[in-house]
Symmetry: C2
Subunit: 359 residues, 2 copies
């Protein structure tokens, strides 16, 4: 019998994404699915799954020990709590919910039922992110002073539920929740301050551009910027330290470079250059031999790490990687982002030390 | 007789830059120079100028009606006030001084003597800036939501007085004063909030990296970022609106592009794309035919506009372009930048309407 026997509530786009991964991992199987839409239930049957006539029927099936909640965001909470109260472990799609207060009810349900509760923060295993994290932690750039995580799209219009606030739409909930989760996973220490700008450029009801600044207690400055209507692309990652600079251009995570100063630089005298814009010595172009380029580290790509970890956490063999308290920290930060943008001021975030509890 | 008969106090690097321009403008001549260093005075003589033995001797020469103060920053104030009190018009190098309180004393001296007082904010005529301003104001990008002004250098170490706080060193005073002056000249309206991060990456005593966010009352978000040790370059300007995006890559101001959505884009259905990092529709790569590129506007390059304006303002034929109240606004903003960076919070800036007085 599989360790993780899954029921899926909400059989839409993301459910297929999960199935594809589940198939690659030993010890996991999908028992059956439920969707409020009959057409989606029929689709589940056509895909070869048991389709339950109701959510309660799914939750009552004792063969299922873990529920994946992949519904629209605004009904995550009721489904997650119902599943936990039915004695199931729960994996919830992101954003887990829209407020910390709602999340706290979900976490309480997990605790009182002593069941695992995690969120599908899959982009913690994105290749570009893992490369950025490896470079950050390796010390290759010396002491890093700025980390910039950016995504620019050209489509403008947001589709489906993402265009409506009542369904948890907008880019902060859709992508900000990933990018902030990555940054908080990568960077140790407290976030002292949050400052955010949001715009609705092509979508009247929700944010489709954000620029969020975080100040860490180490002094590190962090920026994450995203727009659905930025027609000239920016690098996915820009990271600079006192020892060098890294750029990762795309999600691929192999398309980028690390640049450091070469030994030769010490022999080159600074000169004053007359640019079209006036004289400058500080920004005089330097000869190429003063710099040296290095390739990004090569990491193993792994599509199944999330599910292997959930399986092994249920089996008691590993600590859970995406922990509820981490998800809660990101959601608190998102709440601060919205307050900052609305009130046009920075928001103090973590005055006290965060103690990381191994779960 | 020339309209503008100049004496130069401080015969260093910038003085030569001024002479080169003065030579190209009718109605301006350099009468003589003074420097505290005898070697620089000798250099002035060797260059064919009268070299005064003291500042007072220069100020006493009735042939001089305008003094250029091109000394180190920390002695701008005393020289500017002495020159105004001697009945001369004054052009001061930037940054005019380090505090608004000092600037107010200089402005008071200009008023009580009824003499013109301006600051050499020469980068208001930089080609890249004029192109950016033209694009911003033309409406080519629709309603602009973000303006980003950036400069990255690879040298790291700052030279001479720029490395010492007591001489007004650091990149906010050296370059921030230009970039903020440009942004405030380009963008109408009040600045509601300032949020700034400063770092000393390669120089222990002064800032050599800044990232400054401004929020305007129109909702426009503005960023200016500069680092002396950012080894991968960023575009000089990035500007995005609901009608398109502009990039200017360098000071040249011709190296860049405007991108808009083409008519064809409406016919293209959004698709869901499975990237290495998971599915996305919002950020699915769009076919190239959905976008259309346009060249940047071509503007006339003009090295002499600053001096022609000062000459014509002295002659009463034109309004002064770089006005003391504008310089004061930028310096107030710089004070807010330092407070924001030191205290790790945003600073409210202009709660009340700014009334622009034509001088």
């Amino acid at each position: 019998m599989s360790i993780l026997r899954m029921g899926i509530i909400g059989y839409g786009g993301m459910a297929h994404w999960h199935q594809e991964r589940v198939r690659l991992v030993d010890g996991i199987e999908v028992v059956g699915v439920y969707d409020v839409l009959p057409a989606q239930r029929q689709k589940g049957e056509a895909d070869g799954y048991l389709a339950y006539p109701s959510r309660d029927a799914l939750l009552a099936d004792e063969r299922i020990n873990c529920v994946l909640v992949a519904t629209p965001n605004h009904v995550h909470k009721e489904n997650v709590i119902a599943a936990l109260d039915a004695g199931k472990h729960v994996i919830c799609e992101k954003p887990v919910t829209l407020t910390v207060a709602d999340l706290d009810e979900m976490i309480a349900a997990s605790r009182r039922n002593e069941k695992l509760f995690t969120v599908h923060q899959n982009r913690r295993w994105d290749h570009d992110y893992l490369v950025a994290k490896e470079v950050f932690r390796s010390g290759a750039l010396g002491e890093v002073y700025t980390v910039q995580s950016c995504l620019s799209g050209t489509g403008g219009l947001i589709n489906g539920w993402r265009a409506f606030p009542e369904y948890g739409g907008g880019m902060v909930y859709d992508w900000g929740v990933h990018f902030l989760d990555q940054l908080l996973d990568m960077i140790p220490g407290r976030i002292l301050t949050v400052f955010a700008d949001l715009h609705s450029v092509k979508n009247s009801l929700v944010d489709d551009y954000f620029h969020i600044s975080l100040k860490f207690d180490s002094g590190l400055s962090v920026i994450t910027e995203l727009g659905t209507f930025m027609l000239r692309s920016k690098p996915r990652w820009y990271m600079a330290g006192n020892g060098g600079t890294m750029v990762i251009n795309s999600f691929d995570g192999a398309d980028g470079i690390i640049t450091k100063v070469s030994k030769l630089a010490e022999a080159v005298e600074p000169v004053i250059v007359q640019t079209d814009a006036g004289p400058t010595r500080t920004f005089a172009p330097q000869p190429p031999e003063t710099r040296e380029d290095f390739p990004l580290p090569e990491l193993i790509r792994d599509k199944t790490a999330f599910y292997r970890n959930v399986r092994d956490a249920i089996a008691g063999k590993e600590n859970l990687i995406v922990r509820p308290e981490q998800v809660r920290r990101v959601l608190s930060l998102i709440e601060a982002v919205f307050v900052s943008a609305r009130e046009g001021r920075s928001i103090p975030f973590e005055e006290k030390e965060i103690v990381w509890r191994e779960s």
